[in-house]
C-alpha cells in the first residue's frame, strides 16, 4: 500500500492538559473488543468525557469549539502505558492529524508514526504559550511544516523537534513501513538463516515438556 507524502498539516487545535496521560485514559480497554479500528473515534478519552451516569464532562473533546480540531496539544509523557495502537487510531479517527507536546512515550510515538500521525516535541514554555493561545482563541488556525519544523500560529511561529528519521518517513510518504521492510527481503533471509537459534539449535518441536516449575 502506498502512502501519501506529507509536508504540511493545518487546522484548529485542541488542548488536553496533563502529564503522563496513559493509553488507558485515551481509550479504556473495554472499548478495544473490536476486530477493526473503524469505530474507535467515539471512544477517545471516553471515561474522561463522560461521568458514571453517562453525563458529559467539560473535557475539551466534548467542547464544540474544538470539534473540528486536527492538532492535539499535550504535555509530558503523553501516551504512556499499554502498546495499544487503538489509542492513536482512536485519536486519528476522531480527526487528529498531528500531536504536539513536551514528550511522548516511545511505543505510542512509534504507533502514531506507523499510521501517519506525526508526534512533534517543543519545550514546556512554548507549549504553555501555545495552549493558552488556543484556549483563548479556539478557532485559531495552526500550520505545521514538517520540512522546516516550524509551527505557525497567526503572526507568531515556533520551531519544534522531529527526529530526522521520522521527518523523512512523512516527507517521502514512507511511514507505512511494511513495503520498505519488504524491499530488503533478500537481506532478511540472509540475516535470518545465520541466527544461531535458527541455524544451529532450532526449537525442539517434538512436543515434550515438563510442567511449570521444578
Amino acid at each position: 500500500m502506498s502512502t501519501a507524502k506529507m509536508r504540511e498539516i493545518s487546522g484548529r487545535a485542541v488542548v488536553v492538559r496533563g502529564n503522563d496521560i496513559d493509553t488507558d485514559r485515551i481509550i479504556p480497554a473495554r472499548y478495544m473488543k473490536e476486530l477493526t479500528f473503524d469505530s474507535l473515534g467515539q471512544y477517545s478519552f471516553y471515561d474522561q468525557r463522560f461521568d458514571a451516569s453517562g453525563k458529559s464532562t467539560d473535557h475539551p473533546f466534548n467542547d464544540p469549539r474544538y470539534r473540528d480540531a486536527s492538532i492535539l496539544l499535550v504535555n509530558k509523557n503523553f501516551g504512556c502505558g499499554s502498546s495499544r495502537e487503538h489509542a492513536p487510531q482512536a485519536l486519528m479517527r476522531w480527526g487528529i492529524r498531528a500531536v504536539l507536546g513536551e514528550s511522548f512515550a516511545e511505543i505510542f510515538a512509534g504507533n502514531c508514526s506507523a499510521i501517519g500521525v506525526p508526534t512533534l516535541t517543543v519545550g514546556p514554555e512554548q507549549i504553555e504559550q501555545l495552549m493558552k493561545r488556543v484556549e483563548a482563541e479556539p478557532a485559531a488556525q495552526l500550520h505545521i511544516d514538517l520540512e522546516s519544523r516550524i509551527l505557525q500560529a497567526g503572526d507568531s511561529s515556533l520551531s519544534f523537534s522531529l527526529p530526522e528519521s521520522q521527518a523523512q518517513l512523512f516527507l517521502e510518504g514512507a511511514w507505512d513501513t511494511t513495503n520498505t521492510l519488504l524491499e530488503g527481503l533478500k537481506e532478511i533471509q540472509a540475516t535470518a538463516v545465520h541466527l544461531p537459534y535458527v541455524k544451529e539449535f532450532p526449537y525442539d518441536r517434538s512436543g515434550g515438556n515438563r510442567s511449570a516449575e521444578p
Binding site: 478495544m32 495499544r84 487510531q89 511505543i107 520498505t180
Partner: protein
C-alpha cells in the same frame, strides 16, 4: 571496552540501515494474541501479503477470556468474535495456537518463558507493552503496536530506533518479606515513569543475580512502567537451569550449542553503558503504588506525600492522584481499607507467586468484606498449583480460584472493579480506569503483600505475617 548484550543482539539481528536512519532488525520470536492481531491480519489480506515465517510466530488467547465460565461460545459476543478471529487467522496462516483446550494456554508473557520459546540472545516482539518481560531471559523483547505486528508478520523484521542502555545495579540482598516486585517499584519511583524513555534497562548486581528466574521476569515485566520499552538481565546459570528441559528448548547436543551462544551473548565485563543507576536492596521495604501511575509509590511504613514537599511536576501528578483516589495527603498507607484483592497477571501470576501468596493465607481467612481472586497465569501454572494443593488453600481462605487469563489486570473481560472499590493488586498498572471501573482505585504490591491485605482487610506489612522471602 566491551559490548553490552543489547549491542551484541542488535548487531547480530540487524538486516540493514533503512533510508530513514532506523535499523531493520530480524525478529526471532513473534507472539500474538487476540486483541492486537486481528487488524494486522486484515491489513495483510488487504495487501495480498502472507506471513513470511509462520513457524516463528506463536499465538495464545489471554486478554478477553473469562476466568470462570469458559464454555463456548463466550457469553460476551465481542469476546467470542475475537477468539474466533484468532482461531481462523492462525489456522489460515499455519501459526501454532495455544488455545483453551491445548493445556498450554495462558497470558502470552507467562507462556513464552514457560514453554521455552523465549531464549537468551533472541529478539522477541509482541503487540503488548509487557513484552519487556521476556528480557529476564537475556532476550531483547519489544512491545509493539498493531501496524508493527503487521510488519513482523509480513517481513519478520521491525524498523527500530537505536536504544541507549542504562545499567541498573541492585547491590546487597533482599530482606525477608521483600520481593523483586518491590525492587522494580522502587526503581520506577526513583527514576520516574518517563525516566526510561529512549533506554533499555539492564538490571544486574548481587540482588538481581540472587533472584529466581520467575522473580526476574517480574522486574523486566515492569520496565515499560518506567518508560523503558526494553529491560533485560544477562543470562547466567539461573537462566540455563530454568530453560533446560522446557518444551521448545533444544535438547542434548543442541542444548550444548545453545549454552555456548547464551554464554557469549551476555554483556562483557567491561561493557559500555550510556548511563548507570544504583540501588541498595538491603534498604528496601515492601512497596505500594498508591496513585494513578506506578511511579507514585511509597514503602509500607511511609505516609502518602504531602503536596508542598513535592517538586512542581510531581505535585501536579499527585494532585490528580488525590483527586481520583480521595486518599488524604500525609495519611499512612498502612491501614488503608481495601475491598478487592487480585493475585495474578503477567507480572505476578507464576507458580512461585501463587506459592508465596498461599503461604500467607494457609489456614487463615480473608476479611469478610473482601472479594479475593487468584488467577493463575497459565494452564500449566494452574496444573502445577493443583498438584500442590494450592486451590484448596486459597478456597479455604475465602478466595476464588479461577482459570488462566489476564483477568482483573485490565478490564477487558468480566473481572472488573465496581464503582470506587479499592483493589490490592499484584498487577502492573494503577492507571485511572485500568481495572475496568472509571472510579476504581488500584494499589500495586507484591503477591505476598496482596495476600496479607486480603487477610487484614486493609493494607498491612507482610513482614508482620511471615519471615519468608524469595531466594
Amino acid at each position: 571496552m566491551g559490548k553490552n548484550l543489547l549491542r551484541k543482539v542488535w548487531d547480530l539481528h540487524k538486516v540493514r540501515t533503512l533510508p530513514s536512519g532506523q535499523d531493520q532488525l530480524c525478529i526471532g520470536l513473534h507472539l500474538i494474541h487476540e486483541v492486537t492481531s486481528p487488524q494486522a491480519f486484515a491489513m495483510l489480506a488487504e495487501r495480498n501479503l502472507k506471513v513470511l515465517h509462520p513457524e516463528r510466530t506463536f499465538a495464545t488467547v489471554d486478554h478477553i477470556v473469562p476466568t470462570d465460565d469458559q464454555n463456548r461460545p463466550f457469553k460476551d459476543d465481542l469476546a467470542e468474535q475475537m477468539i474466533q478471529a484468532l482461531e481462523a487467522n492462525t489456522a489460515e496462516h499455519g501459526i501454532e495456537f495455544f488455545g483453551l483446550d491445548s493445556g498450554l494456554q495462558g497470558i502470552v508473557h507467562i507462556i513464552g518463558p514457560e514453554l521455552g520459546l523465549s531464549q537468551p540472545g533472541m529478539t522477541i516482539a509482541c503487540g503488548d507493552s509487557h513484552t519487556s518481560t521476556h528480557g529476564a531471559l537475556g532476550a531483547i523483547a519489544i512491545g509493539v503496536g498493531t501496524s508493527q505486528v503487521r510488519d513482523v508478520l509480513a517481513t519478520q523484521t521491525l524498523a527500530l530506533n537505536p536504544l541507549k542502555v542504562r545499567r541498573i545495579e541492585v547491590g546487597g540482598r533482599l530482606p525477608p518479606g521483600v520481593y523483586s516486585k518491590d525492587i522494580i517499584l522502587r526503581i520506577i519511583a526513583e527514576l520516574g515513569v518517563k525516566g526510561g524513555l529512549g533506554y533499555a534497562y539492564e538490571y544486574g548486581g548481587t540482588a538481581i543475580e540472587a533472584l529466581s528466574m520467575e522473580a526476574r521476569l517480574t522486574i523486566c515485566n515492569m520496565s515499560i512502567e518506567g518508560g523503558a520499552r526494553v529491560g533485560y538481565i544477562n543470562p547466567d546459570q539461573v537462566t540455563f537451569d530454568y530453560l533446560e528441559g522446557r518444551r521448545f528448548v533444544p535438547k542434548g547436543g543442541d542444548f550444548e550449542k545453545a549454552l555456548r551462544y547464551w554464554k557469549q551473548i551476555a554483556s562483557d565485563a567491561e561493557a559500555e553503558y550510556d548511563d548507570r543507576f544504583q540501588l541498595d536492596a538491603d534498604a528496601l521495604e515492601p512497596m505500594i503504588a498508591w496513585g494513578i501511575n506506578p511511579g507514585q509509590a511509597v514503602g509500607v511504613d511511609q505516609r502518602l506525600p504531602v503536596l508542598k514537599d513535592l517538586k512542581p511536576g510531581e505535585r501536579e501528578a499527585a494532585e490528580m492522584a488525590y483527586d481520583h483516589t480521595h486518599f488524604q495527603p500525609g495519611q499512612p498507607i498502612k491501614g488503608q481499607r481495601i475491598d478487592v484483592v487480585f493475585i495474578g497477571s503477567c507480572t505476578n501470576g507464576r507458580i512461585s507467586d501463587l506459592r508465596e501468596a498461599a503461604r500467607q493465607v494457609r489456614g487463615q481467612k480473608a476479611a469478610s468484606h473482601v472479594k479475593a481472586l487468584v488467577v493463575p497465569g497459565s494452564q500449566e501454572v494452574a496444573e502445577q498449583a493443583a498438584a500442590e494443593g494450592l486451590p484448596e488453600v486459597f478456597r479455604e481462605a475465602g478466595f476464588q480460584w479461577r482459570k488462566a487469563g489476564c483477568s482483573m489486570c485490565l478490564g477487558m473481560n468480566p473481572d472488573v472493579l465496581v464503582g470506587d472499590q479499592v483493589c490490592a493488586s499484584s498487577s502492573n498498572r494503577n492507571f485511572i480506569g485500568r481495572q475496568g471501573s472509571p472510579k476504581g482505585r488500584t494499589l500495586l504490591m507484591s503477591p505476598a503483600m496482596v495476600a496479607a491485605a486480603a487477610l487484614a482487610g486493609e493494607v498491612t506489612d507482610v513482614r508482620r505475617f511471615s519471615q519468608g522471602g524469595e531466594a
